[in-house]
């Protein structure tokens, strides 16, 4: 198998070419069946060490990366560093250098500050994989979303995708916008103007539009992607109340009816039922939220495999 991904680090989708994105997705396809085997383990990354360095609380992403590493036989270590321990005196750079000195092959990093993976990549010998950095990017989320979309729509190019909610503060939205437009989809974003600034269109060269309303964004789309509303951000009051948000911007069955008949619904989780997504939508056949979680492991297997330069998987193993 020719290696489709020629980088050491996966810092974001922004800097990847369409070919590289497709390369990762195709690699993920080849790993897909491992997770449905009786014995969910192949020796592709045997002897490799992976550190999951999480400066920000996360259950699903960390678990997903950990399972991905284990299914490829890598040794995975989870480290949760509360940013407060950094305040104790150790700088980000010291933390990274300390871990790097233990000679891991890959450090998977999540941090509440944008750019931390880029800063680590400059000083680390290990490959850096971005598991979400502040409001910048969450590349493996976009890749698992793409895998889910391909599963249900068989393609990305030419699709219409709506992304709804807090676009301004969403790393999921940024990574998805980059990925989907690179692969030829058109993306419409919508939400309260305070969270969806009009100049967001300048994020990519083409393929992105800021819709004037949630309805306009959903109209005729193949995929509706809902973002989590971060209740904790409501201190800074970007909209008046959650209940007003639910009524005016939430994905209800009525709004979803504006999309194509076979449109699918995605949500990166965890969901606030009754706020950004109505329960009947979340539980409907349109919702592919659990597929997203499933493919999360698969995509992360591919990313870890490519980042650590693992050997090609052979079926007889």
């Amino acid at each position: 198998m020719e290696k489709p991904f020629h980088r050491r680090d996966l810092l974001g989708i922004k800097d990847l070419s369409a070919e590289e994105v497709l390369g990762i997705l195709d690699t993920a396809e080849s790993f897909r069946e491992i997770s449905s085997r009786e014995i969910k383990k192949v020796p592709a990354l045997r002897g490799k060490t992976i550190i999951n360095l999480f400066f920000e609380a996360s259950t699903r992403t960390r678990t997903s990366f950990e399972l991905a590493a284990k299914r490829l036989s890598a040794d995975a270590v989870n480290i949760s560093v509360s940013t407060s321990s950094v305040a104790k005196g150790e700088t980000l750079i010291d933390t990274a250098l300390t871990l790097d000195a233990m000679q891991p092959d890959c450090i998977v990093v999540r941090h509440s500050s944008a750019g931390v993976p880029h800063q680590l990549a400059r000083i680390s010998k290990a490959a850096i994989v971005n598991a979400g950095d502040g409001t910048n990017e969450h590349p493996t989320q976009a890749l698992l979303d793409a895998m889910t979309i391909r599963e249900h729509k068989q393609r990305i190019a030419g699709l219409k995708v709506a992304i709804l909610g807090d676009i301004l503060h969403s790393r999921v939205a940024r990574s998805n916008i980059h990925l989907l437009t690179k692969l030829g989809a058109t993306v419409r974003v919508a939400g309260p103007r305070t969270l969806v600034p009009e100049d967001f269109e300048s994020l990519v060269e083409e393929g992105l539009a800021v819709a004037q309303s949630v309805e306009e964004a959903i109209e005729g789309t193949d995929v509706v992607m809902i973002l989590r509303i971060q209740k904790e951000r409501q201190d800074s009051a970007f909209f008046p109340t959650l209940s007003e948000y639910a009524v005016h911007y939430g994905l209800t069955s009525e709004r979803l009816a504006l999309a194509k008949e076979d449109a699918i619904v995605l949500h990166p989780g965890p969901m606030n039922r009754g706020i950004e997504i109505a329960s009947e939508v979340a539980d409907s056949a349109r919702s592919q939220i659990l597929d997203q979680v499933k493919y999360g492991v698969t995509v992360r297997m591919a990313v870890l495999y490519l980042a650590t330069g693992g050997r090609p998987v052979r079926d007889e193993e």
């Binding site: 980000l92 750019g115 931390v116 800063q119």
Partner: protein
């Protein structure tokens, strides 16, 4: 002590002089100019300028020396050493020390520390309000008596128009310029870079140009009403430059300065999340940079000031949004001005010298400085306009190394610096 600086090309914009001329110095003051054909006086020390430019000592209206209180970042001595190596003979430290320079005792302390160091002149800037809290006026008149030359709350700008109005009324009484770091924090709070396309792309919270412009316009209106002299620190946006341009045309007592980083770098420099590209005001987009350069070209901008802001490497080795704002700048300012302004034809040498000496002296009312006319203080900056050099921050005289210019190559450098007739810096062959 008598000294003759000879074989130089004297540029003294305040005296309207731009010619080959020898400068005779006695007891710390310029005593006369002599034609280069005249014989040297007897029993005199000679400094051969070797055809280089001889300019009035450069005056930096905006530095942070961190002493007292944060001596791990910089001391007055190390800051002064960096200053004279960069061609600056006088520097004006902002009051955000610890404790804040909001009283005459601290002002005097800073001046005494500078005298001990014996390098550059230090003219402190006092706080506008006690502890720079924006609530009660600081003892401006007492600080002025102790040697302060202006007042500012710099990075904690006076938040309310009411307080700023009162500060201007009072400062005017004491002929103190009021300096404002224009930033309406209700618009910029939490921001770490310029708000625009690049901040969206990087997922970093932006500080809109509007935050600077609203405060600049507020200050100009207040200066017009109070008759005070407002000096806008580090202008960085098109709107602020335009506001100053219009206000000057209306006769408002407004001046402004620009930092080298705001005429050399744009927000694109932040793309690698290098914390040495984080400062306030932030690096702006290209349109703003072009407007700033136009302001330099047409004279709207009065002075070049470095906003030299040392931070220890450990403090900058943080996440981008947690790292402190600011970069050092004393040693690179002249090189950057040559590269970006003189070389590119924005301004000529004479205007560069004016922006770094005559104008700053006038803005802060520094008598006998900013010129080398007979009687003036013998603060002299010797510049080799053709010297090519590379900045290696490992050799910096500052205690800190937070610069985005490490490894940059320049043409034009200060090669010798005199303060009060005494040579305090000579560039070694590099």
């Amino acid at each position: 002590m008598r000294l003759l600086i000879k074989n130089g090309h004297l540029i003294d914009p305040a005296a309207n002089e731009n010619t080959g001329m020898n400068v005779l110095i006695e007891d710390g003051r310029v005593s006369a100019w002599m034609k280069q054909s005249e014989p040297d006086p007897e029993d005199i020390e000679i400094f051969d300028a070797g055809g280089n430019l001889v300019a009035p000592g450069f005056i930096d209206l905006h530095v942070h020396l961190r002493e007292p209180g944060q001596e791990h970042k910089e001391t007055i001595a190390t800051g002064c050493a960096a200053a004279v190596a960069g061609g600056w003979t006088s520097i004006c430290p902002m009051p955000n020390t610890n404790p804040i320079n909001d009283n005459a005792a601290i002002t005097r302390y800073m001046i005494e520390q500078a005298e001990h160091a014996g390098l550059a002149n230090v003219f402190p800037i006092g706080a506008i309000t006690k502890s720079s809290d924006g609530i009660e006026l600081a003892e401006m008149a007492e600080m002025k008596s102790a040697g302060a030359v202006a007042v500012s709350d710099d990075g904690r700008p006076v938040p309310t128009a009411g307080m700023m109005r009162r500060a201007m009324q009072y400062a005017r009484d004491h002929s103190l310029p009021v300096i404002d770091h224009c930033e309406d924090k209700s618009l910029s709070s939490g921001g770490v870079m310029h708000e625009g396309k690049v901040s969206l792309l990087l997922g970093l919270k932006g500080m809109p140009a509007l935050a600077e412009e609203i405060d600049a316009v507020r200050d100009i209106l207040l200066a017009r009403e109070t008759g005070a002299h407002i000096h806008i620190a580090h202008v960085s946006t098109a709107g602020a430059v335009e506001a100053v341009r219009r206000a000057k045309a209306e006769g408002v007592r407004v001046t402004c300065e620009v930092t080298p980083h705001h005429f050399t770098l744009t927000d694109r420099a932040v793309e690698g999340y290098d914390t040495n590209t984080k400062m306030a005001p932030p690096l702006r987009s290209k349109e703003h940079l072009e407007a700033v350069i136009e302001g330099i070209r047409d004279g709207t901008i009065d002075a070049i000031a470095t906003d030299h802001a040392p931070h220890h490497a450990d403090e900058k080795a943080l996440e981008f949004d947690r790292a402190p704002f600011g970069i050092i700048g004393l040693e690179t300012a002249v090189g950057l001005a040559f590269n970006e302004l003189v070389e590119k034809g924005v301004i000529g040498l004479e205007q560069l010298v004016r922006l770094c000496s005559a104008n700053p002296a006038k803005i802060f009312g520094l008598e006998g400085r900013g010129t080398l006319a007979p009687g003036a203080h013998a603060d002299v900056t010797i510049i080799d306009p053709d010297l090519e050099w590379t900045y290696d921050v490992r050799t910096t005289r500052s205690k800190s190394r937070n610069t985005p210019y490490h490894g940059w190559t320049f043409r034009g450098a200060a090669v010798a610096t005199f303060v009060g007739g005494r040579q305090v810096y000579e560039r070694n062959g590099e």
